[in-house]
Point group: C3
Chain length 262, copies 3
């Protein structure tokens, strides 16, 4: 399996030099690899959000892609730097749950603690291991170095599982887990789990608003109106046609969302 | 004509996973192509703004470039997915006017409705056709698939023409059509249409301010002062030296701008 | 020395078409080169900030990299377009101090004024020389054109040196020179200059807060607490564990910071 792509996900933002430094480090080691930015605007220190974005994106990449995910409030502390090996991909980053949703979905994987300083920059700083550990390890992996030279398998690692909704007889209790740039409120209620044969019979409650039925697309209702639909990652979403549900409902991550199946 | 480059313009923002997903889809189909980001910060749902940015950028790219433009509030509704073929470029996106300024400038072009699901991801979602239609179509095009395999020529498509200023005997009435990141107010008054032989004789009015003559560059006036000049895309611009005309004038898109030629 | 990489640093932002236009211009001239974005969110017109970001990033890139830095409030005025040649890198941009920290660190370098319009777009605009001069010059350099064909060596250029802290017997007086996306306050006090053998003996004063000793990483103190540490570029930084020192202290660039060595 050739490794042509290194994909980056961080909370470093686009203004600072941090992402540029990581790219420089990677290209110094492997000038041939292609670097693809996923996002550098994960909310600072928000591991759960980073894990959700990575989960939504990874499976679309070519087999062999190496993902480097650095949302790392514990950098320089005792949390381990790790490499996760799956059938199709590598994941490189801190052991803090950033790969938690990957563990849940892929099932078959191996976690290695990165412990061979030969593949790190020297000295390793206590505040920027994206530069000193994760970027060079990804670059060496992409050059063909075996993971076995880089670390040793571990059995204990941070899982950070997905918060499942509560399923009752005629009701599902979920919550908003992500708000995208359009102001769409993404919930943890995933299709096809909750969809009855007649979609029109659903009622969705958020705050003091009740939405009847699922829309097929954003333009099925009038501009400015509230709607619910199955989003592109199969999660139930609350949206506003050509507008922002976040603004209209003053929505926040964690807001409760109920689905009534009667 | 070889297709080495796919250039992306969307309103997806830089934080969400949407752009990363499109890149993954493209590279899975054609790992050799180079992807170039134009902008992912088009104001959400603002087709006119997306069309203006695309118009300003496309002609600088190498012949053969495939542009994918996704500002698509009507995604999943009856609006068609299209491919526009010109002598030097391909444009892929929704039929909603996003290519309106291209139609006006290039004149010689063909529009195809994308109707062959063989080149789409399956199933096609109703909310993210950037992933399911536009990215894979662009990737297959870049791999050498003929447009004729992908769609059929259509004659009716959305044009969304440029709003021209009104020309009177000694006066041009235009408006602000774009405000850039420096706070420069870009108008729809284009050089050389309006420039008299003596540039000093021009007067430009915006709000209750009158600017005399055209500056050659931003430093011709004192720091913090208002000026007018011909911007890099040949439109008349109102600017502030080392400052923001948007802030100084509380400028908005749509604000009227008058040029007096006396 | 082969030139595989062109790295871009500008204050053009990510929404406008300006960066996309520069990339188009580069790829038209040299479709083989790889373009790497460092940052396009330098605060508009802030040359000092651009110089600091460039200084922090350049040395991590592969030898041969061509850096294009465009923070250029004086575009179109008498300020010269220049090319700086060092042992390992080229730097292309305006002569306004954007390369000031490079001059201080690298010592051995040559500055050429770009005066050969054969390597510019024509006509050269007075407001967007990133497109008309700096992008094409970088692209021709990457294609193997000799710098000597492009310009002539000059001895007078803008240096904009680094503002050094004041060293007293038991005290260093510095200031905040940069605030990163995490809200970390980066000072101009650089290690190892000021570090005594016993790091615990340091006291750092900012505003009316006093911090005792240097932390090793962000998690050495409680979440939300203030700390000081040596950042990844070896400057003294004031930070908040999993939070923002900028918000907690209402910090600004220029704020005085004192280190007491007693």
């Amino acid at each position: 399996m050739a490794h042509f792509f290194i994909s980056l996900l961080t909370d470093f933002g686009y203004r600072d030099h941090y992402v540029g430094v990581m790219k420089g480090v990677i290209f110094r080691i492997n000038p041939q690899v292609k670097i693809v930015d996923i996002s550098h605007q994960v909310t600072p220190h928000n591991i759960t959000e980073g894990a959700f974005l990575l989960y939504n994106v990874y499976s679309y990449f070519p087999p062999g892609t190496i993902f480097v995910a650095v949302v790392d409030p514990g950098v320089g502390s005792k949390r381990k730097p790790i490499l996760v090996k799956t059938e199709n991909f590598y994941f490189v980053g801190p052991d803090n749950g950033i790969f938690g949703l990957i563990y849940e979905e892929i099932k078959n994987f191996e976690v290695l603690e990165l412990n061979n300083p030969r593949f790190f920059l020297s000295p390793v700083s206590a505040t920027f291991q994206g530069r000193d550990i994760f970027a060079p390890v990804a670059a060496y992996l992409s050059s063909g170095v075996s993971p076995l030279e880089m670390g040793k398998a571990i059995k204990n690692f941070v899982r950070l599982p997905f918060t499942q909704p509560t399923f009752k007889k005629k009701e599902i209790q979920g919550k908003v887990i992500y708000i995208d740039g359009f102001g769409n409120l993404v919930t943890n209620i995933k299709a096809p789990d909750f969809i009855p044969s007649d979609k029109k019979q659903l009622k969705i409650k958020i705050g003091n608003k009740i939405i009847s039925g699922l829309a097929k697309n954003y333009q099925e209702v009038e501009k400015g109106s509230l709607l619910a639909l199955i989003g592109s990652s199969n999660f139930l979403e609350i949206a506003v046609s050509e507008g922002s549900a976040q603004k209209k409902l003053k929505g926040k991550v964690g807001d409760p969302v109920q689905v009534f199946l009667s």
